[in-house]
């Protein structure tokens, strides 16, 4: 492309063509954040469940704090290294959605150290399911919408079961809400790049 003068019609055509070009395909590995948080949460949940059920020592609940300690550095490392351009408004909206839901989940988790009877697992999975469903609706990706709504319904299981079993359900729900749709998203995004 040169620095040439255009007539009015050519200008409009060029604008339309460039705007069309920005309607990009789904980014490769779009599901990675879901997989990072999903697998980290499942691994920590299973570890907490195992240690609580074998020792009965509730101090093991402090292990929940390792979720952000493991998740954030992996996210930073993965996305600083592979930062993708252009960034669209949709990318920005999705990141805002997850800042709000992620921060809410963190705040209520911190709150349980003060209010011990707070139904934390139910609240966190409800928040994460909402974030997943909203993300799915924004990017028009049905598996995310479906798993998000399913997670919202099934989150009540965490209220019905005893604390130990609800940890296992919590891990299972992260599989449904984060890991499975994350893999589907990755598969679809890879396919759209072939």
């Amino acid at each position: 492309m040169e620095e040439k003068q255009l007539n009015e019609k050519e200008s409009l055509e060029l604008i339309a063509q460039m705007i069309r070009n920005t309607q990009r395909k789904m980014e490769k590995n779009s599901g990675l954040p879901f997989l990072i948080w999903g697998y980290t949460t499942i691994a920590v949940s299973l570890a907490v469940w195992y240690l609580l059920s074998t020792t009965g020592n509730y101090q093991w609940n402090w292990l929940w704090l390792t979720i952000p300690v493991i998740g954030f550095p992996i996210m930073m490392f993965t996305f600083k290294k592979n930062e993708v351009y252009p960034k669209t408004y949709i990318d920005k909206v999705i990141s805002y959605v997850w800042i709000v839901f992620g921060l809410s989940a963190f705040i209520v988790s911190a709150g349980t150290f003060i209010f011990h009877r707070f139904p934390i697992l139910f609240t966190v999975i409800l928040l994460i399911s909402m974030g997943t469903a909203i993300t799915g609706l924004i990017i028009k990706f049905k598996p995310l919408v479906f798993s998000g709504f399913l997670g919202m319904f099934l989150s009540f299981l965490c209220l019905m079961l005893n604390p130990l079993n609800s940890i296992l359900v919590f891990a299972g729900l992260f599989l449904i809400v984060q890991v499975i749709p994350g893999h589907i998203l990755n598969y679809k995004s890879r396919k759209s790049h072939v």
């Binding site: 492309m1 040169e2 620095e3 060029l14 705007i19 920005t22 930062e83 252009p86 960034k87």
Partner: protein
């Protein structure tokens, strides 16, 4: 009475850059080069012109060991682009 077309935007490469940036939040130099199929030198000159006019913001940083230039349209740029499209519409009786 026809509105005068903004000379800064009425050039193929600068208009292409602005059209790309109006539809995304931010884009890097490599993306703009790919999409506009321009040479690095020419693209760089036009980016500087748009930056000097305040139509875009340019941030130069690093991605690993490589430099990365990221461009973003400013509110002034959005206004200028809208005015330019409005002028085109009046020229073409749209």
């Amino acid at each position: 009475m026809f509105k005068e077309l903004d000379p800064l935007l009425h050039s193929e490469l600068r208009l292409a850059i602005m059209s790309l940036l109006i539809s995304v939040e931010e884009a890097d130099f490599v993306y703009l080069k790919d999409q506009t199929k321009s040479t690095s030198g020419n693209l760089s000159v036009q980016i500087d012109k748009l930056n000097d006019a305040g139509y875009i913001e340019v941030e130069r940083g690093f991605a690993g060991k490589r430099t990365r230039t990221v461009c973003k349209i400013t509110p002034v740029g959005v206004k200028a682009f809208e005015a330019y499209v409005e002028s085109l519409r009046s020229y073409l009786n749209l």
